[in-house]
Amino acid sequence: MPLLDVRNLRTYFHTRGGITRAVDGVSFHVDKGETLGIVGESGSGKSVTCYSMMGLIPQPPGRIEGGEAIFGGTDLLSCSDEELRSIRGRRVAMIFQDPMTSLNPFMRVEDQLIEPLMIHQDISKADAIKRAIESLEEVGVPEAEKRIRSYPHEFSGGMRQRVMIAMALITKPELLIADEPTTALDVTVQAQILELIANLQKERGMAVVLISHDLGVVAGAADRIMVMYSGKVVETGETESVFYNPRHPYNRALQKSIPSLQQKGEELYTIPGMPPDPTQIVEGCAFAPRCEFADEACKSGLYELKASASEHATSCKRTQNKEIILTPNANG
């Protein structure tokens, strides 16, 4: 049984401008100890997917319209607030895209770090502080003993990110949801943090959901990858397979846009067109208007993930029907 099993999750925002179908029928699972990478365009619903499971969607305007997210036998979407609170922050922890959203600017880092321990565990304050200092040291905050007394704004962006990672890991969660955990960090530190997460994962059997727009990060860290576009999963499979045998044109276009694979001086490749307006219901495949392989048939019908024998699934009908075969990018 997977550690987390999400089925047909739908989260909409009801705003003045219409209904945003931020997450529209997303299903996936995460096994104990594995890393699932989520990639996809900005606004494709990666964060909302994770926020929904954590009970962090502002309601209104947000509403979870349907689906379930079973974690260790409990449906996170329908369980009581109390049950959710006891799971969140203890068995499932989240690292946010923007550290300032989860750090309280008016509280010393120390008090914020020990809070989850004091709430969820039977531990003295002195011991909690000791644990907090250790966890700061683990994520590489220098002079942890001194700096634990600081306020969040006294740290640089990257150091704040480490503080947040320390806070997420302090209760030794079974599942870590990391939303762009290293975007603010330089590559040498990023490498250290990813290694740290990987080690904790090995030691504790922790599972990780890693959201990143950096395909390089995902390439190195993820066992499986899920590609999202416009509120839906368009491709999912094992990491190597998703990179070397792309099965959805969006995935291929995404890989083609990676700056580091392109020559200096040239204009960087960008996916033509604009992302769809999330308040409009799109007939057919949402990527079709920007897709170089689309034909008339792509503009109608329902698009669903279908797996081939290799468990590598795509929602692209033309790939499913073998009308097109996508070539991997030239970097291979």
């Binding site: 705003t15 401008g17 990639v39 996809g40 365009e41 900005s42 606004g43 895209q97 923007d98 300032m100 590489g140 220098p142 002079e143 740290f155 640089s156 962006g157 990257g158 150091m159 990110q161 762009e180 975007t183 603010a184 960090l185 330089d186 590559v187 040498t188 530190v189 990023q190 490498a191 250290q192 727009h213 950096d214 395909l215 390089g216 990060v217 390439a219 190195g220 990491t239 190597e240 990179f243 070397y244 276009a253 995404l254 890989q255 846009s257 990676i258 700056p259 580091s260 694979l261 392109q262 200096k264 204009e267 960087l268 490749y269 960008t270 996916i271 992302p275 970097n331 291979g332």
Partner: protein, 333 residues
């Protein structure tokens, strides 16, 4: 130093004091965020500024723009010494230099429509007859690749990339000569990153805009920059033409930085040899004596612990601050 330089930074130091005590605050130390940086930029040049988190990139950018007061040193922009002027004359110079922030979510007022935000910026700069404001806002939006029909929308109705375009449009509204973009694409996905990079490159070309592009991602900076400066703990440790720094790094820290760039290819990524740095990032409160990088440097020797090395030229192309610069780079070519 070259008198034609457009931006000149001389031995700039910005320190933050650390205070203790509730009633009687006393200074117990200081964070040497920027600790003696000198730089010269030509008009229209794009400089990429990279380095570890906390090394002082944002503080350097903010000090150049006088958003934070330096401890010593000078900044001269287009012949005007910014560090010497204050109050009203500084405020009137502000239009010459603008900053774009990493987080387009936080830097835009959520209660103002795009029209409000941009018209306010335009009108703060010069008087525009009210009948022409709408057209001016529209042309600004077109310049950054946004359709003017979105004028009446609020920031939350836009995607991250679109919001960053709005922030860029707002910066351009006052016709600045210098822009410091602090991690302008770090929060965006690759395709939109590329759009913003293409846009900034184009604007800089067309408007002869001088640009300091801060990022922790060397591979992003490489594309847009004429030169790249690498910072470590408050100092520039290497500076040179973008391709040179990327393909032929001189300083051991730059070498580690280049080697750690993730490769978007799972097999290569797993086999890749990284120079893994040992030890913790140093504290800017008690920087190591001598070369600030020496506690983590794989090539450290006794002499590295004595005095802080100065930037010295190498190859006629780049400059790096390393006592062992010659020894480390001569035989490896």
């Amino acid at each position: 130093m070259d008198d034609n330089s457009f931006l000149q930074v001389k031995d700039l130091k910005t320190h933050f004091s650390i205070e203790k005590g509730l009633l009687f605050r006393r200074q117990v130390g200081s964070v040497k965020a920027v600790d003696g940086v000198s730089l010269t930029l030509a008009r229209g040049e794009i400089l990429g500024l990279v380095g570890e988190s906390g090394c002082g990139k944002s503080t350097l950018g903010r000090s150049i723009l006088q958003l934070v007061k330096q401890k010593s040193g000078s900044v001269t922009l287009d012949g005007k010494e910014l560090t010497a002027i204050t109050g009203k004359s500084l405020r009137s110079s502000r239009a010459d230099f603008q900053m774009i922030f990493q987080d387009p979510y936080a830097s835009l007022n959520p209660r103002m429509t795009i029209y409000d935000t941009l018209s306010e910026a335009l009108q703060s700069h010069k008087e525009i007859p009210s009948s022409e404001v709408s057209a001016a806002v529209g042309s600004l939006m077109t310049k950054v690749g946004l359709s003017p029909r979105f004028m009446r929308k609020y920031p939350h109705e836009f995607s991250g990339g679109q919001r960053q375009r709005i922030a860029i449009a707002r910066a351009l509204a006052v016709e600045p000569k210098l822009i410091v973009a602090d991690e302008p694409v770090s929060a965006l996905d690759v395709s939109i990153q590329s759009q913003i990079i293409n846009l900034l490159a184009k604007l800089s070309r067309e408007m002869d805009l001088t640009l300091i592009f801060i990022s922790h991602d060397l591979s992003v900076v490489k594309h847009i920059s004429d030169r790249i400066a690498v910072m470590y703990l408050g100092n520039i440790v290497e500076i040179g033409p973008a391709e040179e720094v990327f393909h032929n790094p001189l300083h051991p820290y730059t070498k580690a930085l280049v080697s750690a760039i993730p490769v978007p290819d799972p097999k290569k990524e797993k086999e890749r040899k990284r120079i893994l740095l040992s030890g913790d990032p140093p504290s800017p409160i008690n920087p190591p004596v001598g070369c600030a990088f020496h506690p983590r440097c794989p090539h450290v020797e006794e002499e590295c612990k004595k005095a802080r090395p100065e930037l010295e030229p190498f190859n006629g192309k780049s400059q790096a601050a390393c006592v062992r610069l010659q020894a480390l780079n001569t035989n490896s070519i």
